[in-house]
């Protein structure tokens, strides 16, 4: 079966768009969750009791130290040996959140330690509690300091979703792959996939810059 190359975009743009939506969805959900867990993890790593600090430290090291695909395969395939069977979507989300949290902790930690000591002192001198200081004074400033690395990180997470086709999550990559098998025209299909990713990562980048500009009002 040969389909004229110009018909491919027409035939497959729907499938690619569907894949894009699924990629975007897991990226957004996992970013929000890793954002929250990363903030808590970074706080725990900096100010928590010794045991908690150690646990967070090792968590970060493991996430950073193991190859991404291996982590994903452990969650999706590894656990089946003990009867734990995750659906592709669940496995995808667990992995993206786990991975995102590991890197999130480090990004937030650097943001938090960037805030000058004088801010802590001023808050303490006014009688604000540590928790209050953390969430009203330190974290808002840390968020601004870490916007650039955070933007890069969200783009990285979006790109990480390509790995999900290996656990049969029907993302862009999966759709492009299916199309390639059916039409034997990988060039045009992967080009379409590339375009979809590029549009999404450009959009994330723009959003990041907009947030930075707004934050710049006080910097």
């Amino acid at each position: 079966m040969h389909i004229p190359i110009l018909n491919i975009p027409l035939l497959y743009s729907g499938a690619i768009a569907q894949g894009a939506i699924k990629d975007l969805m897991v990226t957004i959900i996992s970013t929000i969750l890793s954002f929250i867990l990363g903030t808590l993890g970074a706080t725990a790593r900096l100010y928590g009791p010794k045991l908690v600090k150690t646990v967070v430290y090792w968590y970060v090291e493991i996430i950073r130290g193991l190859p991404a695909i291996l982590q994903l395969f452990i969650i999706y395939y590894g656990f089946t040996q003990w009867g734990i069977d995750f659906s592709p979507l669940t496995a995808a989300l667990i992995w993206l959140v786990a991975y995102g949290t590991g890197y999130g902790v480090e990004i937030f930690r650097s943001g938090i330690i960037d805030v000058p000591q004088g801010q802590w002192e001023a808050a303490s001198a006014l009688g604000l509690s540590r928790t209050m200081t953390m969430f009203r004074i330190i974290v808002p400033q840390a968020y601004v300091a870490m916007l650039p690395p955070l933007t890069s990180f969200v783009v990285l997470q979006l790109k990480n979703t390509t790995l999900l086709y290996l656990v049969a999550y029907s993302d862009i990559m999966y759709q492009a792959r299916l199309g390639t098998d059916a039409t034997e025209q990988p060039g045009i299909l992967y080009l379409m996939a590339a375009l979809a990713y590029l549009i999404m990562s450009l959009a994330i980048g723009r959003l990041g810059y907009r947030l930075e500009r707004r934050a710049a009002a006080y910097r």
Partner: protein, 270 residues
């Protein structure tokens, strides 16, 4: 000035590791008294006033603040004690330390709202009154970065005053300012002194200390070398170390390379 001491330090000592920051510092601050600590850099002045509101712990001696007794080297004070001291003792820093992500008015109302649970409209009203007092009510909605150093420091003073403190600590409040901005900050502190605020301030402004302070304490080489009535200490210091320090400060142009002030008759010949 009544006789009630609101801060009373007895042989307070602070070390960082084996390095002595200050040793055996004993001084009293009475209600409505203004005490100025002066002295060369590195003498431990700033660290000492940070011990008063427990931004730093100390290693020896006792420090009584508003009825609470803090003991050096002992267990840290309870959260309640710390909170009580900090809500009743205001502090102004050398580097202003305003919260950059909050507007001027939000800087001022944050602690009254969160710590004292004052409703927002009342906190704002009070903040505006304080800002008007230092002539900055028109800057209420601005972010601190938009303000000059002198304006930022005046806002910082308002922020501390918004907690209605019984004592104010000033840690070199004008040393980060351009010379032409020093006056406006000193004017705000002077007004507070006139209103009877109890104050402990670390400063390099000798003239100001002489004019505003009741008591002057000279710290040098990690110790108090002299303390007493402001005019006496500054005009006729009794100790050699205080004399040397004051000469260097008051006549910097006449200090030679080894830090000695040349006697007047010699200077004529040079």
């Amino acid at each position: 000035m009544s006789n009630e001491a609101v801060i009373s330090a007895q042989r307070v000592t602070k070390r960082f590791g084996t390095q002595v920051v200050f040793e055996d510092v004993s001084l009293d601050v009475h209600k409505k008294e203004v005490v100025a600590i002066i002295g060369p850099s590195g003498a431990g002045k700033s660290t000492f006033i940070r011990c008063v509101n427990q931004l730093h712990p100390f290693n020896g001696g006792t420090l009584e603040v508003l009825g609470h007794t803090l003991t050096g080297g002992g267990p840290p004070p309870s959260r309640e004690v710390l909170q009580d001291i900090r809500t009743r003792v205001g502090m102004v820093f050398q580097t202003f330390n305003l919260f950059p992500h909050l507007s001027v008015v939000n800087n001022i109302i944050l602690a009254p709202r969160e710590v004292k649970k004052i409703p927002r409209p009342r906190a704002v009203e009070q903040a505006m009154e304080l800002l008007a007092m230092v002539g900055l009510e028109h800057k209420a909605e601005m972010f601190p970065r938009r303000l000059s150093g002198g304006e930022q420091q005046r806002v910082a003073i308002c922020r501390a005053l918004a907690m209605d403190p019984e004592i104010m600590l000033f840690d070199e409040p004008t040393s980060m300012l351009d010379p032409e901005l020093v006056g406006e900050v000193l004017a705000a502190i002077r007004r507070l002194a006139r209103q009877g605020m109890t104050m402990l301030l670390v400063t390099h402004e000798m003239q100001f200390a002489k004019e505003v302070a009741d008591t002057v304490v000279i710290m040098a080489d990690h110790h108090i070398v002299e303390q007493g009535r402001a005019a006496e200490v500054l005009d006729a210091p009794a100790t050699e170390r205080a004399q040397v320090f004051l000469r260097r400060i008051l006549k910097p142009a006449e200090v030679d390379e080894v830090g000695e002030v040349a006697p007047a008759r010699l200077r004529g010949r040079l």
